[in-house]
């Protein structure tokens, strides 16, 4: 799969000299980072020149210092690990359950008609509103947190999978049927590959949702995890540490999104990419 792209005989483009391409990528890096650099400078200066109260909004360098301390002491890692373990377990469980279920429901119109109203109701109930229910029923241990992540991830994946199967181009199905392929082959060779991009949209939505819900759950009742750490730092007036915790969450979110994006591109290589800047 991976090598196919390289074998493509693309129409010959004028070769760029390496100098030009270095300049080009430098320009690209600059364009992408300029706003971030500006925000970082603003963060550093605002407390110093008294725009905000340094006690509640410490300088960036102070936050990074606290962050570094936490990394060295291993404190950050233990919270990071706790959060990531919970989200990964919940996420994988959701994948394992929601994709096969969605494929089945999408394939059988009766199942779709029966279950869709219930799904719509569940989906439109904000997951965080159910957090107390999860805690009442499952306690404040790992089970309740993994469960809420699982719950939050399941719906985007499930609903997108159902939609994906339902929206496979009927002409492709007709074309395959005219070649007399069995139902099983039709499913595995046509329906499934055609559904992959839409399923992945659901997976990415689940990735974002999963972090959000997990952090909230940890803030309310947990003994470790990034969400817990942020509230802990706030209550104990460890303000730089609190910001360091928030930055860690941003990093976690970025990481998850990047990974899923990479995976998505790998599986949807055959799709024309309207944003390709080649």
């Amino acid at each position: 799969m991976v090598t196919i792209g390289k074998q493509l005989e693309k129409p010959k483009k004028p070769k760029q000299s390496s100098e030009v391409s270095i300049l080009f990528s430098a320009q690209k890096v600059f364009k992408q980072s300029i706003v971030l650099i500006f925000l970082a400078i603003l963060w550093e200066l605002a407390p110093r020149i008294g725009l905000v109260d340094p006690a509640f909004f410490p300088t960036l360098s102070e936050v990074i210092g606290a962050w570094w301390e936490m990394i060295i002491s291993g404190e950050l890692w233990s919270h990071f690990a706790a959060s990531i373990t919970r989200s990964v377990i919940g996420f994988i469980l959701a994948l394992v359950v929601a994709i096969p279920l969605g494929l089945a429901i999408g394939w059988y119109p009766l199942a779709r008609d029966l279950l869709n109203p219930a799904f719509e109701l569940f989906r439109n109930t904000a997951t965080l509103a159910l957090l107390p229910v999860f805690m009442l029923l499952l306690g404040i241990g790992e089970v309740s947190k993994v469960s809420i992540v699982f719950y939050a991830c399941t719906f985007p994946i499930l609903l997108n999978t159902i939609a994906a199967v339902k929206n496979v181009d009927p002409l492709l199905i007709k074309s395959a049927r005219s070649m007399n392929v069995s139902s099983i082959k039709l499913f595995s060779k046509v329906i499934l590959p055609a559904s992959v991009p839409t399923i992945f949209t659901g997976i990415r939505m689940a990735g974002t949702g999963c972090i959000l819900v997990l952090i909230a759950a940890e803030m309310i009742g947990a003994k470790e995890g990034l969400g817990y750490y942020i509230t802990y730092a706030q209550y104990n007036f460890l303000i730089p540490e609190m910001y360091a915790g928030i930055l860690s969450i941003s990093a976690l979110g970025l990481l998850v999104n990047l990974g899923l994006g990479k995976l998505e591109r790998r599986f949807s290589k055959w799709k024309p990419n309207p944003n390709a800047n080649e």
Binding site: I4, Q7, L8, E9, L171, L172, K174, S175, A176, R177, S178, M179, N180, V181, K185, K189, V190, P193, A194, V196, K269, W270, K271, P272
Partner: protein, 269 residues
């Protein structure tokens, strides 16, 4: 060449039940095609022409075995069509290529359905890619190909599993005039080379006359055969400007007048 019968339509009718707000059962019957009755010979190139709504696509679905006739039957080699099969290959107007497969992968799909071994699949696919002039585009995905190229791949895919009959549903309708002309003559070349029986549906009179040895003129409401016109053109591929020869003009004129008789008025040509 002695004519051998390949396909026989025996008083074929197809009735659909469609929604109707005026009737108390909410359904009414709609006859798409009625009493279709003609014979296609082995190795013949036959075109079906008619305004939209004359049941062209219904006929093709029936031939493909995707639906069953309400009355009558269709025979291929004397055997009734009961379902889809690899003795018939269909080429659709909208290409119907699998976008996640390369040109070669698409061609191999039908071979896989036929149960051809993997190594042989590749050889066959390469042969047919060459036949349609796309040898250098084997590893392209459909979105990287032009409309004409996509349709070439689709034709190669249908030829690859070696069906006796090629069913073509307005395959060139979505292409620009230039590409269409090129593909028409290439299709004739492929037909001469492979000797397939081809049933070609179109709404273009020129296309029907240029390609078909016989043109089946269909009339609408319900779809039925109005007349089958013999086209006495020889050497279609040799005469570069066949369209202005007297024989072509005469045949075209005949089909045109058939399509402009009173029962077509108001129909969409």
């Amino acid at each position: 060449m002695p004519l051998t019968e390949k396909i026989r339509f025996e008083r074929v009718s197809k009735v659909f039940s469609i929604r109707d707000e005026n009737s108390n059962r909410g359904k009414k019957e709609f006859t798409a095609v009625k009493d279709i009755d003609f014979v296609v010979n082995e190795g013949e190139f036959i075109t079906l022409v008619g305004p939209s709504g004359c049941g062209k696509s219904t006929l093709l679905d029936l031939l493909g075995g995707l639906t069953k006739p309400t009355r009558g039957r269709i025979l291929i080699d004397g055997k009734e069509i009961t379902g889809p099969g690899l003795d018939r290959g269909t080429v659709f107007q909208q290409y119907a290529l699998f976008p996640w497969k390369t040109a070669r992968g698409n061609i191999e799909f039908g071979l896989e359905a036929k149960g051809v071994a993997k190594k042989e699949r590749k050889e066959q696919a390469d042969y047919y890619l060459d036949l349609v002039g796309l040898k250098n585009f084997a590893d392209r995905y459909p979105h990287e190909l032009s409309g004409g190229m996509k349709q070439r791949v689709a034709i190669a895919r249908s030829l690859a599993f070696n069906p006796d009959v090629l069913l073509m549903d307005e395959p060139f309708a979505a292409l620009d005039a230039q590409t269409r002309e090129t593909l028409q003559s290439e299709l004739l070349r492929i037909w001469e080379k492979t000797g397939k029986t081809i049933i070609f549906i179109t709404h273009g009179i020129d296309e029907a006359v240029y390609l078909g040895q016989r043109v089946v003129v269909l009339s609408p409401n319900p779809g039925s055969v109005k007349k089958i016109v013999d086209i006495p053109l020889k050497n279609r591929l040799e005469d570069a400007d066949l369209h202005s020869t007297p024989e072509f003009v005469k045949a075209r004129r005949e089909v045109w007048s058939l399509l402009h008789e009173p029962e077509f008025i108001g129909a969409n040509i």
